[in-house]
Point group: C2
Chain length 410, copies 2
Amino acid sequence: MNSFDELWSELAPIGRNASTGGYRRYAFDTAELDCREWFVATAQARGLDVETDRNTNLWAWWVPPGIDPSAPALVLGSHLDSVPDGGAYDGPLGVVSAFAALDAVRDAGVAPDRPVALVAFADEEGARFGIACAGSRLMAGALDADKARGLVGRDGLTMGEAMSAQGFDPTTLGPDPERLARIGEFVELHIEQGRHLIERGAAVGVAESIWPHGRYRLTFRGVADHAGTTRMQDRHDPMVAYAHAALAADAAARATDSRATFGRIEVEPNGTNAVPSTVRAWLDARASDEPTLESLVARVADAAASGALTNGTEVDVTTESTTPLLTFDAPLRDRLVDVVSRSGAGSDVPVLPTAAGHDAGILATVGVRTAMLFVRNPTGISHSPDEFAEPVDCHAGVDALAAVFTDLAR
Amino acid sequence: MNSFDELWSELAPIGRNASTGGYRRYAFDTAELDCREWFVATAQARGLDVETDRNTNLWAWWVPPGIDPSAPALVLGSHLDSVPDGGAYDGPLGVVSAFAALDAVRDAGVAPDRPVALVAFADEEGARFGIACAGSRLMAGALDADKARGLVGRDGLTMGEAMSAQGFDPTTLGPDPERLARIGEFVELHIEQGRHLIERGAAVGVAESIWPHGRYRLTFRGVADHAGTTRMQDRHDPMVAYAHAALAADAAARATDSRATFGRIEVEPNGTNAVPSTVRAWLDARASDEPTLESLVARVADAAASGALTNGTEVDVTTESTTPLLTFDAPLRDRLVDVVSRSGAGSDVPVLPTAAGHDAGILATVGVRTAMLFVRNPTGISHSPDEFAEPVDCHAGVDALAAVFTDLAR
């Protein structure tokens, strides 16, 4: 038994919406600040030194006496924020498991030969300001600080304004090469967002790669008008152009075994009896390789443009973020497979690709040695209140992470 | 010259959104209450007796000494609320013109032989609670009071709760046959929401009929999931089913010279990287006759159902409101044409059908003699910040209404 269950139950009520059962923990809002407080208290109760870095990522350091604090650190963690009405596991499972693994390592009397840090990266989902992995991207120099500060959130506040309102200093945002250089390895445990592990009959797996992916904002502009009196041929209705794009995205993704999703849409003025003036729709697109991704997005953009052309509207396609194909460090990946299989998770530890972006992927692109552990998800469902992992699998994840911890920290 | 310009400028700033230039005056919100205050003050300044009826419609009575207050009244007016980011004219033009016409009639020394009332009907657009012409429908018994009280608005409050919060008594809502019986004729002046008058070269026209029309809520239900990791074939994405319905609506309306609009949509959870769990979309449909309207709605519902079937989602279609074909009272209509043409608006006073619903249409369906005057709209645009009428045409509308007032009140 380990400390996982107690830590899990502490975090469970924060930001949970009672009517949907989903979580709403968005960067710098009340629920996310409560998660930060939980992280600080949990770390301090363990005697760890807590700091918030210049990009608002949270770090908890364990540097035993006699250890050179400047030696390359072993870093474990994930993130605490959520998508709108997301599940409990995506992010928090990795942070809670890191604390539980640290407890298990200490209970076993193991002391590291190098610094260890637990981390909670800021704004991984990008639910408020639109750019995923904002905290790790800023640290890695993959997101410009001025651009980040100016990102406008759902409530109309910019990231800079939202930070200032909560006592964070937005002027400190930016690349953090000194901190990056301190990371020897970063291991992120995460709930699987798919069905590989359930099909393979394994509680824990190791990541092989992350598909290239991107977010694109399509803004369809027409002319607001009366829904009753405006003849169809006189309309400039951006909703019709959007519908063409939505169907094209679905068809193109199916044809290429890729993913394309329009999950977020904003309509103005959004009145039943008014032809809309503007439809903004966000495309999330992912594919197994970059040429396929580019061709997928091009097909959606073409359908949007031809749909717009047919009814006299206009469409702009803005790339909000893109992430290239990421293959995790092969020696570290193989070492994790070896350690986890010897630790009792069974000899078959699957090695999996994923189409989900992660902070581990961002850090890997700037040369940090990173690896990921996945914990079995019985339905594959994620980004939903129905997201779930069996407690026994969560405990297996902690055991695996503790084994990796012990192996890498010495 | 008349008092129109001054009254118009008083009302113009209320509820105007500075960034869009559109109006946001929704039932029982601050801007709409400010419009009510303006109505009361304007009526009291003219010595009219103001009352708010049991359905929150506003009435201002002119019953000269010696006139039987129970005699059938001449009623002039329209509404003050707006669609989201609507124009300045739809509704308020009729109310302001009624006051200006009253001023003109008094300036000319004319005294009515019967009671006269100016009216502002409540919640004509249905922008907050989804049912258009709620105030006149309730009065006419065409909207059940329990149903109205329970309608949930955009902010989650019911109509009953919203009324109570502003000091209105929701228990009084319901049919008002005594008040209906007091109306001898109701004449509503309105900006034209189309281009008939600009094509005919006339400043003022008279209404012939209102197309049958309805509002339908389509609720597409799927399963929220991760936009990256969920294979297309494993999804239950309600957005795709909705897109099929949106394109079918556009095509069916074009094929039948009807109107079909999806102007309002709500997506849950509305996250870029989440397959939606629910898409709610509101269809506004109108046609020149009822069989065509029914067939149009059936085609959209069929497309929604087959779109849902292909990807394992479900769709419910709920009729929120329907209004049958309405032909205005022919003798009253002909009398208006005669009076307006003799008043100086030119011998050609067009008689026009319209696809827009109005309180005049609701009252006509329960036997009230009603008529409408339309004022030229140079672009035809309505339900938009770009809605406009030339001042000279607004003045011509007041002159026409004053002539009708003089003719009918004696």
